[in-house]
Every structure is written in structure tokens, then in C-alpha cells.
Subunit: 165 residues, 2 copies
């Protein structure tokens, strides 16, 4: 199984990813978090945030997720993943791909902007939601409306889903 | 541990890689072969064989090898890996990188050309040893002189080395 959390900056991918990772740890099931920082750090930040570079970065993640799945370890991917064509690619390549969409309203995200990503990076790097469109997910397995519920409710919904599927 | 078999086409990377994989299987130690075909197939052959594309391909392999190593699985990489800068990168990134150089004389390889890679692809794709230089490995952990010994001798040398290191 591959768990892939998608959604714009600030949607809670890393927080929820860590909680899912802990859930599996307690059950003695091996999982591993693949997040944007791990991958960019591994490569000494050789890719930027343009559309092309984001695509290249996601493709790197995918192979790692694939080899982990092949070896019985559950990768938990925390990545914006704005491109539907790559989500389709994942759906075709993994044995059991679980796409969980952390749906966050973009205007609200910009307004709150807790991490300061929208203000700070606005004129520096291409940002998903500003310069790059977050393409609407067409085939996700689960939608979490993060604006409407707290993190524990979201977490419980995800675990319920994973236990039943 | 990451076992990385380097060497030009026809040096025996895949054959030896499979034998090492079987060795670990019999010992109930998890290992996984990462070879050029697996990676290129995973990506539906989106990269060619130019220097730039080979670099991109090797970088993809590296992250996969890294996440496997982090999860206690031994990746066995079978890849020409002609660039010393990327071998250095691997040396710095993995906890325990074992670079095994399958040294094969290029003129002899072209003369014998068992797989037909040199004749067939000569005018089609960039070939390591023809258009792209196989940079001399400067810091390998073990050199196997594949022209001077049979495959079983090479295999035994590699296993002896791995058992002692």
C-alpha cells in the first residue's frame, strides 16, 4: 500500500502524515514518511519550485514509494502533488494507491497563512495556488475537509478509512 | 548497507547482482535489486541515454537506494554509473556504501560484444565507452577483474568481501 496525502501548503499533510506513521508504529507495521523536505535535502536542493522541477521531484518520490511498497513497507507521501497526470501515473504504477485529498480553501489559506508561505514566497518562487494551479483531484479515495474539522477528527477519518480498505 | 555494482555494459552487473540477491535470500536477509531496466520501465522510458539523462536516472536510483537502506533492506544497484561526482554523492549520502567495480577492458568488450550493445546501438544512442567516458573509479571498495576470472570466482570474492566488511 502507498498512502499519498495531497493538498496545498498548510493543509496539514506533514502533521497528519506523522500521526499515521505513529499509528502504524504502534501496530508494529513498517511505514516510512516521504516528504518534500526529505527529498529536497537528499539532493542538496538541486531542484527549484517551477512546474518542471516539481514534476521531476514528484517522479523521484514515486520510485522510492514503489520500491518501499514492493518490500512491504508503507510509504506515507506528504506532497502537494498538484498535477492530475502524475496522480494517474501513481494510480497505475502502485499495487494499492490510496490518494487522500486534504481539501483546503485557497483563499482561506492565503488569508490565514500560518506558515507564511504565501506572503514570504510570493515573489521568490513559483507557488502552487498562485503561479501553478492545483489541479482538481478527480479520483481520490478520500476527501478530508480540513477547514471544517479539527486535526483529530481528520486523523480518525483517515484511520477508519485505512482500516476498512 | 548499499551495494552498488558499477562497470561498463557486459561487465556482469546484473548476473552478479542476482547472485548476491540470492545469497541474501538464503540467509533471510532482505535485499532488492535496483537495475537500469526496472527504473526505466517504471518511468515508461521517459529518459534517454544522453549524459544529462543518465545523471537524472542515477539520481532517481539513489533516493530509492537511500529509503531502502533507511528501512533495513539492502539495495543491490546494477548500473554503469560512469560519473565520479555521482559516486561521491552516493558515498556521502548512504550510511554504508559499498562500491564494487566490475572492471572490464573496453576494447575487449567491443570486440566480444556478446549482447550486441556496441554494434547495435552505436549510431542510435549515446553509449558509455563511446560517446560518454566511463570515468575511472577513484574510491571503490573492491575491484573485480572480470576479464581475468570466471563469474563464480568473482562472486566468491564479492561475498568474501561483504562478509568481512
Amino acid at each position: 500500500m502507498v498512502i499519498w496525502l495531497i493538498g496545498i501548503s498548510g493543509a496539514g499533510k506533514t502533521t497528519l502524515g506523522n500521526k499515521i506513521h505513529n499509528y502504524y508504529k504502534e501496530k508494529n507495521i513498517k511505514s516510512f514518511i516521504l516528504d518534500g523536505d526529505l527529498i529536497r535535502n537528499f539532493y542538496d536542493n538541486d531542484l527549484g519550485f517551477s512546474k518542471e522541477d516539481r514534476i521531476a521531484n514528484i517522479k523521484r518520490i514515486m520510485l522510492s514509494a514503489y520500491v518501499l511498497e514492493q518490500n512491504g513497507i508503507i510509504p506515507i507521501v506528504c506532497n502537494i502533488s498538484p498535477f492530475e497526470s502524475l496522480r494517474d501515473f501513481a494510480r497505475n504504477k502502485f499495487n494499492n494507491y490510496k490518494e487522500i485529498y486534504l481539501k483546503k480553501d485557497l483563499d482561506l489559506a492565503k488569508e490565514k497563512d500560518i506558515k507564511g508561505v504565501y506572503k514570504e514566497h510570493l515573489e521568490k518562487t513559483s507557488l502552487v495556488g498562485i503561479d501553478i494551479i492545483f489541479e482538481k483531484p478527480l479520483h481520490n479515495n478520500l476527501i478530508i475537509e480540513v477547514d471544517k474539522e479539527n486535526i483529530n477528527t481528520s486523523y480518525n477519518k483517515i484511520i477508519d478509512y485505512l482500516e476498512q480498505n
